[in-house]
Amino acid sequence: MPDRQRWTRLLAAAGAEPSSSPRRISELCVDRLGVTGAGVAMVTPVGNRGIVCATDEVAARIEDLQFTLGEGPCIDAVLSGAPVLVGDLDVVDGISLDRWPAFLEGAAAVGVRGVFAFPLRIGATNVGALDLYRDRTGDLDADELAAALMAADAIALALLRYRSDGTLIEDVDPYFTHQLQVHQATGMVQAQLGSTTQEALLALRAHAFVSEHTLVDIATAVVERRLRFPVEDQ
């Protein structure tokens, strides 16, 4: 596992081209995190699902199984908005065996022993999940967990960079998720535009970019009611 600064740079490089970044970031996870394979699935608010990429056939099978069966760690991660980390699928821990009987059978059949599913989300905006799997048992250590969480953020950001017309906006500080004003402003802009949360966040980011302000500055102006969307003369 590379140090965090280096990992941040690797993720940024892999995220530079959004159309290929889920695949490239999945491959980075396999290279550096001691996992056997990785896959990314997209889930839209209306429930459409699709497999974005998988690093190998087993990873593809895991994604496929969950969507076919409607159960599994990835589905739970998307529904709950929190990671689902199962280092040993054989251990009866009160959750997995009750919840995913068919998934566990299917995963065991292809030699999967541990699964780590990370939601691709910002607040209420769920765009999908990153699934990592291992052919041996064992939890992710703290560094691997940090790296996987950062990888999920990078994929979510890449997927969020698409406007509804298919064009892209430039990237911003990945730690904007820690600025509460940004989330308050996202909610306000969502109501102003009558849009989804995802579109509101994009509008904020796009305006920050074209007006050469930071996202937090723009968000603060919205929260303090000095700025409304749609912005005139943009």
């Binding site: 965090r4 608010p45 709950s80 908005g81 929190a82 990671p83 689902v84 980390l85 199962v86 280092g87 821990d93 009160g94 959750i95 939601p119 989300r121 910002i122 607040g123 209420a124 939890d139 992710l140 703290a142 967990l145 940090a146 969480l149 950062m150 953020d153 730690y175 998720t177 820690h178 600025q179 509460l180 004003q181 989330h183 308050q184 402003a185 996202t186 909610g187 306000m188 802009v189 969502q190 109501a191 102003q192 949360t197 603060t220 929260v223 303090e224």
Partner: protein, 257 residues
């Protein structure tokens, strides 16, 4: 993030011990039910303000990616939030989480060299002293409770003990949400709490705009609806953000209760 005091304390000539005991009983009651963790943390912060006579308080959690994230704050003012958010890089709360020990500055002006960015921001927000106590789980520190005073003063030892007790309740609140004890559960629960906070802030924004009210009134509306319908605050927030629930303003009389 709430102006109303969720836990009724103080007043009526009762002793502080009585007040404190009632606050803890109220928190303990909350832990028995199927509670919302961010709601609980907001109440803890409000309790902190009323019991300790401090000006502002906030809870920051380890985001497990090498930074701290705000999960509860006693107010929505930009300067207050920035004072917390700056501590992603430096400050007493970050030091507290790194060392697992309480960190204090009785006179921030004299501590400029210690935290060159945090101190000016705190002074600009009107704060002159600060204490941070850790949220500890065995050998691990998962976050910190940060309290601010407008005066230059050291927190009394008994007050620091109370702050630590409240921080311990916060830790229990974050971890007790699921009964099973898989080693991965801490990571899942920390991420869940942080994400709940984000959803609640988004919902506050939606309501503040749609109902033309302040963020704190929007929050009161969310909370009132959750209580009236026996729902979790986060679940109500998700419904609002997804457009499944329209909450109009609650009448003023209800807010005052």
């Amino acid at each position: 993030m709430n102006d109303d005091k969720a836990i009724r304390v103080g007043g009526g000539g009762r002793s502080r011990e009585q007040t404190l005991a009632e606050a803890f009983v109220s928190l303990a009651d909350t832990l028995v039910d199927d509670y919302d963790v961010v709601d609980l943390l907001d109440r803890l912060v409000a309790t902190c303000i009323s019991v300790l006579d401090v000006t502002a308080a906030g809870l920051l959690l380890d985001d497990q990616k090498g930074h701290l994230a705000v999960v509860a704050s006693s107010g929505d003012e930009t300067r207050l939030l920035e004072t917390f958010q700056l501590q992603t890089n430096e400050g007493p709360c970050l030091d507290c989480v790194k060392t697992g020990k309480a960190i204090a500055s009785a006179d921030l002006d004299a501590d400029r060299g210690r935290w060159p960015r945090f101190v000016p921001a705190s002074l600009a927000a009107g704060f002159h002293s600060v204490t941070a106590v850790p949220l500890r789980l065995r050998q691990q520190t998962i976050g910190g409770l940060n309290i601010f005073h407008t005066r230059v003063q050291a927190l009394l030892p008994e007050d620091q003990a109370i702050a630590q007790a409240l921080a311990d309740v916060a830790t229990i609140g974050i971890l007790q949400q699921r009964s099973n004890h898989r080693s991965a559960q801490l990571a899942e629960q920390l991420q869940q709490a942080l994400n709940s906070r984000v959803v609640i802030e988004q919902a506050k924004g939606v309501l503040a705009e749609r109902n033309a009210v302040s963020l704190s009134v929007a929050f009161a509306t969310l909370r009132q609806h959750a209580r009236d319908h026996n729902l979790k605050l986060t679940d109500v927030a998700v419904q609002v953000v997804q457009g499944d629930l329209e909450l109009s303003n609650i009448v003023r009389g209800r807010l005052a209760t």
